[in-house]
């Protein structure tokens, strides 16, 4: 794609409180996002360091629509490079994960080391002094396109852009602290699942950042008092606006009258579980925080619901389609009881999750509703017009923060 003939969607004003629906369905906008956001000065979650324990381990991840290989080199360091041969562009790794000394392309047998450097070219000198590569061919000019790579608390991020600041300063101190709070020790992968979302990637990220919907769309939050807007909690937003944390603290005494006044669908006091083990939690971090949800722009989510911990990677798959890769976690030192607890609480999240099921569909509701009327805009006025941290969650500040960061990168 050439930037030349791209016309991005126009914004009605500089305000963050009006978001044009065209952003969710315009093809030029989507193409520009690949260049300016995913291939731009951002850090994109790739995998867990724990998924590549030994030198030679590799896996296939993605940044935007690009396929990316992450590999642990013999010396032990991690490398990331595009999953595309430097010769004619074939995919190099055809499996999601594996172990290898080096990476050989099936098409013409070019091989690369685990740092993405070209180490072998079939028939480079030809056969019987005929054919082969000309003198001016230099292997060093045909290494795989590399990404910068950085690790934080066992999370591995990559960036295509040398202009991106160091990962930890990209995250900022508050977000970094909130990641540290959860990822305190070596993790263990309990499971994986991928959810295909029928909507533009931004609709999902907005949804995760949207502390306003949580207790209204999701009944479990309120009924079981895992999280309500009347509970203590807060929103933390970094200076760029792109990252956020929302959390709440257990608070049995919370005044429910606010809900009664609202008479919300989601407030059915009579509702009880027959087997409540699915919500029987222990306060493993010792701070009474029952729910913490955290995002790193543009596509990473770290989630703690009670003892259910997961990371999510968001990958755009077209203007109206996204892929959400879930990795369900425990800690290496979990005993059988703790693992069983996490597995049962995992019923709360994921594509069939009691409290996240709706999030898989609601983005599609918007995607379908904007058809034919893309010129209109949505509203983001809850909690004001800025994108700053707040002590309450009846706000759309984190969503405005997303657009603040988005516009700065898109130059709009």
């Amino acid at each position: 794609m050439q930037q030349g003939d791209m016309t991005p969607v126009a914004w009605p004003s500089d305000s963050l409180t009006r978001v044009p629906f065209g952003l969710y369905c315009n093809r030029d906008q989507y193409a520009l996002e690949q260049e300016r956001i995913f291939n731009g000065p951002t850090w994109n979650y790739l995998c867990l360091a724990a998924e590549l324990p030994r030198p030679g381990d590799y896996l296939v991840s993605g940044v935007g629509e690009a396929s990316v290989i992450v590999a642990r080199a013999p010396a032990g360091e991690l490398n990331a490079f595009v999953n595309r041969c430097a010769h004619r562009g074939s995919l190099l790794c055809l499996k999601r994960r594996g172990h290898a000394e080096n990476i050989t392309c099936v098409y013409h047998g070019w091989s690369y080391d685990l740092a993405g450097q070209l180490t072998g070219v079939s028939f480079e000198r030809g056969v019987k002094r005929q054919g082969g590569m000309p003198a001016e061919f230099k292997r060093s000019e045909h290494n795989l396109r590399r990404l910068r790579i950085a690790e934080f608390c066992g999370l591995v991020f990559g960036s295509f852009d040398d202009g991106a600041s160091e990962l930890e300063s990209y995250l900022g101190p508050d977000i970094a602290a909130r990641i540290r709070r959860v990822l305190t020790k070596p993790v263990k992968v309990l499971g994986r699942t991928t959810q295909m979302l029928p909507n533009n990637w931004k609709l999902y990220l907005e949804n995760v950042k949207d502390s306003y919907h949580a207790s209204i769309l999701h009944l479990f939050f309120t009924t079981f008092e895992i999280n309500r807007l009347t509970q203590k909690g807060a929103i933390i937003i970094d200076d760029s606006g792109g990252h956020h944390v929302s959390y709440s603290v257990a608070d049995q005494a919370a005044d429910n009258s606010a809900y009664r006044q609202q008479a919300l669908r989601s407030n059915k006091d009579g509702y009880r579980l027959e087997d409540s083990s699915v919500v029987e939690a222990v306060d493993e971090f010792g701070d009474g925080i029952t729910m913490q949800i955290l995002t790193v722009f543009p596509g990473f989510v770290l989630q703690q619901h009670l003892n259910s911990i997961a990371v999510r990677q968001l990958l755009p798959r077209g203007v109206d389609r996204s892929e959400l890769v879930w990795t369900i976690l425990g800690f290496e030192d979990d005993d059988h009881v703790m693992t069983e607890r996490r597995l049962k609480q995992a019923n709360l999240v994921g594509p069939a999750g009691y409290i996240s099921m709706e999030d898989g569909a609601v983005g599609g509701f918007v995607q379908r509703a904007v058809r034919g009327l893309e010129e209109d805009s949505g509203v983001l006025m809850m909690g004001g017009s800025d994108a700053r941290s707040q002590e309450f969650r009846t706000t759309e500040a984190s969503v405005r923060g997303f657009w603040k960061k988005y516009r700065s990168l898109m130059g709009a």
């Binding site: 499971g191 959810q195 509702y271 597995l343 995992a346 019923n347 594509p351 709706e358």
Partner: protein
């Protein structure tokens, strides 16, 4: 008998009753009578939806995991009372069925399945395929599932998985 090794023979009557249990399972889901679904399981049971990839890798997590009939009932009441999802239905096709004797009172059963999901909009998709891996209590009629592991061939789930597979 099981296709992999002769094992202990299973007589025709048992096969028919097992086939009937599998058919009842399809019926309660496809006809939307979910309240009858947990009753096809033993009080102490195990129900897990996982993918072939996770199953082969030995990962314990499932997108749905229950170890009691109560948890299955809770899943149904959540779908009825709590969760928001567009009206939709499933259409199952099941078979072949492989039955193998496990103990005096139980049989191991495997069966191929295909689930089509039809939205209220009329949009239809091939939603899931895979294998049911069951342990069935045949000690008394009607037979019940002691364990049903739903192993989907794909690790991808479209939009959401509301109704159990």
């Amino acid at each position: 008998m099981d296709a992999r090794n002769p094992g202990v023979p299973v007589d025709q009557a048992v096969r028919l009753a097992v086939a009937d249990l599998l058919a009842r399972y399809v019926d309660v889901i496809d006809e939307g009578r979910l309240e009858a679904w947990p009753e096809l399981f033993a009080e102490k049971c195990r129900y897990l939806i996982t993918s072939a990839e996770s199953f082969e890798e030995g990962l314990p997590h499932g997108v749905i995991y229950a170890d009691s009939r109560g948890m299955l009932r809770d899943r149904v009441s959540a779908l009825r009372e709590a969760n928001i999802y567009e009206p939709q239905r499933y259409r199952h096709l099941v078979g072949p069925i492989w039955v193998e004797r496990e103990t005096e009172t139980t049989v191991r059963v495997r069966s191929n399945f295909l689930v089509i999901r039809i939205m209220h909009t009329g949009d239809t998709m091939l939603f899931a395929t895979g294998v049911y891996r069951d342990l069935v209590d045949i000690s008394s009629a009607p037979y019940r599932f002691i364990e049903r592991i739903v192993v989907t061939d794909s690790h991808k789930i479209d939009t959401l998985l509301a109704i159990p597979l």
